[in-house]
């Protein structure tokens, strides 16, 4: 399979302090696959995703290459101008932001914000967009989607806003979805649901997924490739299954062990119950 996105030696430097934040990261994203990026907060996961999409602040200098290939051409995302990037971001790469609360305009109703995306990018009329939004919201199990459309962002919980964002990204069916901690604020039922939606979308449309999370359970469930980051450096990169089975680096081991400890007691009781039943 061909590589959809090839990132080589990506560096991000803060020009104000001349401090390097991301120290030369390389990875590939194949078509119809999922790359999981894990690491603790402050390890540079989100920064890297934003750097690739050109969403970083102007005082951050980006170096390296990020080649996005399509059928006919190859584009280096780090060299494109703003209008080109905008076109790419709306049609080929969608991003689901981590902080759902600040991702929406507080002065506009959710409904018009969501349909705006479809009107702008698909060239459809308001009522068509509205029914698309409703369908998208139903897909992520939103209760009373009609009501949600009439509300402002401060009237919804973080989990609901997150689902709104996931719904729009899923409905746009882009080539790549970059999901930055999309399930952290959700309870386990909705988390499961969103994860299954991602899986299904991948099967149907071949969308590639970059899934950033600190929850190894979800990442293990979704990812084919795994990139472990610490302090802006690539600690480990490769096939997800083999890394989980046989982590090479101390830090990866530490992450896996601490996660295992957390789920241990839950698994134990559930298994014991299953035996009795």
């Amino acid at each position: 399979m061909s590589n959809l996105l090839t990132v080589r030696n990506l560096k991000v430097t803060d020009l104000r302090e001349q401090a390097e934040i991301i120290h030369g990261i390389s990875f590939e994203l194949k078509k119809n696959s999922c790359l999981g990026i894990v690491g603790e907060s402050g390890s540079g996961k989100s920064m890297m995703a934003k750097a690739i999409l050109g969403l970083t602040n102007p005082w951050l200098r980006r170096e390296g290459t990020a080649k996005l290939s399509s059928e006919h051409s190859v584009l280096d995302l780090l060299q494109q101008d703003e209008s080109m990037l905008r076109a790419i971001r709306r049609q080929r790469i969608c991003m689901i932001l981590q902080d759902a609360m600040s991702a929406f305009d507080p002065l506009e109703k959710i409904g018009s914000q969501l349909s705006e995306t479809f009107i702008e990018n698909k060239g459809i009329c308001r009522s068509e967009a509205r029914s698309m939004v409703l369908a998208a919201l139903q897909m992520v199990n939103m209760s009373e989607p009609e009501q949600v459309l009439k509300k402002y962002s401060h009237q919804l919980s973080g989990g609901m806003l997150q689902r709104c964002m996931v719904a729009t990204a899923l409905a746009m069916k882009p080539d790549i979805i970059v999901a930055d901690e999309p399930t952290t604020a959700l309870d386990s039922i909705n988390q499961r649901l969103v994860v299954e939606e991602f899986k299904q979308l991948r099967q149907e449309t071949g969308t590639a997924l970059i899934f950033i999370s600190h929850d190894l359970g979800v990442v293990k469930h979704l990812a084919d490739q795994l990139l472990v980051m610490r302090c802006g450096e690539r600690v480990e990169y490769g096939d997800a299954r083999s890394i989980f089975k046989n982590p090479q680096h101390e830090y990866t081991k530490y992450l896996i062990d601490s996660r295992l400890e957390m789920s241990k007691s839950f698994q134990k009781t559930m298994k014991r119950g299953a035996v009795i039943a």
């Binding site: 309870d187 957390m262 839950f266 039943a277």
Partner: protein, 254 residues
């Protein structure tokens, strides 16, 4: 084990401003009844909007219930608080907004003790508390923005236990931390509970963390208690919501 807190038939409604004239009431809690036994860690689990936070605010005495009673050691909440100052504490989810940014670590931890009219030099006590939450005493003169999220949350825990409370409410206290830090904080909470013989009410939406720490688990769904189980019996949940919640956990195994 004697009951520390008895919650009977609690109802609570909030006014909701509607588009039309006149306000409508939304019932957040619809007759909630359960008990918290002394020395146990009780986990309260439910989706966002199920009324978890409302319930904790009522237990903490920050708001009055519409109907029903909450008794702590057989006394109404507010009366109990007056006679037992500093015996109930809370740790909130959002550590950045629950700590005064202009206070150093020392001042933060001192505040509840000063309020209980402890006078004089409390440095030794603060060192003991910092040790308890596995932080170095060197952090004493730092400000919150100079610490990591996990460290600030531990400062909040140190502040909560500074007055030797009997009962602590942990309202999503670990939800905004990394999984590796969550494990550390859970370990710490477990250790503290054994050391200081405290009772916890642990509010969360993450079942695995709840199962890890709690003895008893209460499921709250749309303002009602739908299931109450000891954590060892989780697999025997009867209620449909509780079962689907349990089934949807994405496990982590190797």
């Amino acid at each position: 084990m004697p009951n520390l807190i008895e919650i009977k038939n609690i109802e609570k409604s909030y006014l909701k401003a509607s588009n039309n004239l006149g306000d409508t009431k939304v019932k957040v809690l619809k007759g909630v009844t359960f008990t918290i036994e002394e020395g146990l860690c009780v986990g309260l689990i439910g989706e966002s909007g199920s009324g978890k936070s409302t319930l904790t605010r009522l237990i903490l005495g920050l708001e009055k219930p519409g109907n029903g009673t909450i008794l702590i050691e057989c006394q109404p909440v507010r009366q109990w608080i007056k006679t037992n100052q500093g015996k109930m504490s809370v740790v909130f989810q959002d550590y950045t907004s629950s700590i005064n940014p202009q206070y150093t670590v020392r001042e933060t931890i001192e505040e509840p003790m000063r309020a209980m009219s402890h006078r004089g030099n409390l440095d030794d006590k603060i060192d003991v508390l910092l040790n308890k939450v596995s932080l170095s005493p060197d952090l004493r003169d730092r400000y919150p923005h100079e610490l990591s999220g996990g460290q600030v949350q531990r400062i909040c825990i140190a502040r909560a236990i500074s007055t030797n409370p009997k009962f602590i409410v942990l309202d999503e206290a670990i939800s905004s931390l990394d999984v590796s830090v969550q494990t550390q904080v859970l370990k710490l909470l477990h250790k503290l509970q054994l050391e200081m013989k405290m009772t916890y009410l642990f509010v969360a939406h993450d079942l695995q963390a709840v199962a890890h720490l709690c003895n008893k688990i209460v499921f709250l769904y749309r303002g009602e208690i739908v299931e109450e189980l000891m954590s060892g019996d989780l697999a025997n949940a009867q209620n449909e919501y509780a079962r689907s919640l349990l089934a949807s956990v994405i496990p982590f195994e190797i």
